[in-house]
Subunit: 287 residues, 2 copies
């Protein structure tokens, strides 16, 4: 009987449990732990896990895979709590949005007898917590993997299999490169979205103005619905990359501002290039 | 037999035609004109209009309502072309994204015998042109109306009826207020979206980086797919308002940047407030 332990039963942990159940692997038991005992009980009754553990140490006992599915800044503490209780040859992974810091913590805190393989599924939704969990969350998504340099090839293979099992496509990537890339395509968008909401919704005319807000505003502001703790943790563990991208973005906005006041062909050209680039991305993404 | 003339058979004009047809008004004929004669022929065969006119003057002949559904900067020229051919007591409206400039053109160019009522349906989609047209585009959307100061109450009533007929909710608003509000909730988002695409897709690592772009990037960049001509026209006819909002937005982004480098509770607080404001908007919007 293989045992998979899920630490944290929110959107990611809950969805991983459901996706693993959907795969109907025989001889797999999923143990679950949440800092809130009620969440673990609910996860059990929803069929997300097979066993709710009240103690984190009991959850990782006999586990061949331990998935830490909590906001990044909380991962360090959890690693400290489980380190002495991890079975030898066990695979430890996470679902955190940034990877450099997590890799360093794993190096410092986890025993050499386990294989740490950082993970980051490139998916999400605006409903955080167990309520948002669904087996389909990972279908077709890119799932970044950052194995520690001396991870065994067996562990890497097992992790690859697990990622495929939940419906995702594994992508092996250097942690520093990962953090720079996600700063641009995932973290910057969160900040743009939150800043749009704060810039508009604090306006004295917002009550009237908001009546005119339609699908464009809805899409651009959607990421502001994300879990504030997760967003803060992302910012604090990927500060340098995000700030670089923000500065670059502000320059880009100023370029559009300049083209607007010059008012002519170049502005249309800029919109046209953005349209073409977005179309190209969509075609690739769908293909 | 009432005659409605639609000038411009793109996303807006085409959808208005389909929505009016869906309403099955007896004794209504819809005439259509496009600068591209093939588009008018296609609109006719798709059932968007009842009659394709090769000459714009023929399209407005005997019309009780003339709908100018083209990008804002092209409206002036069309008003000049039709002015001498408009039947007395005819209602003229448009679907342009900004209203101040359009109201001024109407004042200067249209005869005093017609009633101009500016219009702006707060809806859209990323597929521009007749291909994107659908009868459902206006269902439940806010439809801004800006009647000229001396418009007859009959004309205002007719226009209100027409807006309800296509499934939308009329909202009477001052043109200057309209332009300020849409700069914040509609035009700023277009620029944010285009700037996100240009800031990321021009990066030398884009091919690799784009693999990690998921639903967050998709939503934030969706508006970059919009018609470049329309986006440029919006920028050029609502310059001052948009630039004000861009400046305000850049300050807001810098505030987040500062909170990030200070790295603590205030950042979480900012995300939390944005989350609450976005939730509140959604609840109102859905209600």
């Amino acid at each position: 009987m293989e045992r998979v332990a899920i630490i944290g039963l929110g959107l990611m942990g809950g969805s991983l449990g459901l996706a693993l159940k959907r795969a109907r692997v025989t001889d797999m038991e999923i143990s679950g732990f949440s800092r809130n005992p009620k969440t673990a009980t609910r996860a059990l009754s929803l069929g997300v896990i097979d066993k709710a553990e009240a103690e984190i140490t009991a959850a990782v006992e006999r586990a061949s895979v331990v998935i830490i599915a909590i906001p990044v800044l909380a991962i360090r503490d959890i690693m400290q709590q489980i380190a002495a209780h991890l079975p030898a040859q066990c695979i430890v992974t996470d679902t955190g949005s940034t990877k450099m810091q997590v890799m360093n913590w794993a190096q410092d805190l986890l025993p050499a007898t386990v294989d740490f393989i950082g993970g980051h599924p490139m998916t999400g939704k605006e409903i955080s917590g167990l309520d948002g969990a669904e087996a389909e969350l990972f279908n077709g998504c890119v799932y970044c993997l950052t194995p520690k340099s001396n991870a065994s090839s067996e562990a890497v293979q097992s992790m690859t299999r697990l990622v495929r099992l939940v419906g995702a496509n594994p992508l092996f990537i250097d942690p520093a490169e990962h953090d720079n890339f996600v700063a641009a395509v995932s973290h910057l968008p969160i900040l743009l979205s939150a800043a749009l909401v704060s810039a508009t919704a604090t306006n004295p005319s917002w009550t009237e103005m908001s009546k005119l807000a339609a699908t464009g505003y809805r899409d651009l502001s959607r990421l502001a619905l994300g879990d504030p703790e997760m967003s803060r943790d992302i910012c604090l563990t990927n500060q340098v990359n995000i700030i670089n991208w923000m500065d670059h973005y502000i320059e880009e906005l100023k370029r559009y501002r300049r083209l607007m006041s010059e008012g002519g062909e170049e502005l249309m050209e800029a919109f046209l290039r953005a349209q073409q680039a977005r179309r190209k991305w969509l075609q690739k993404h769908q293909g």
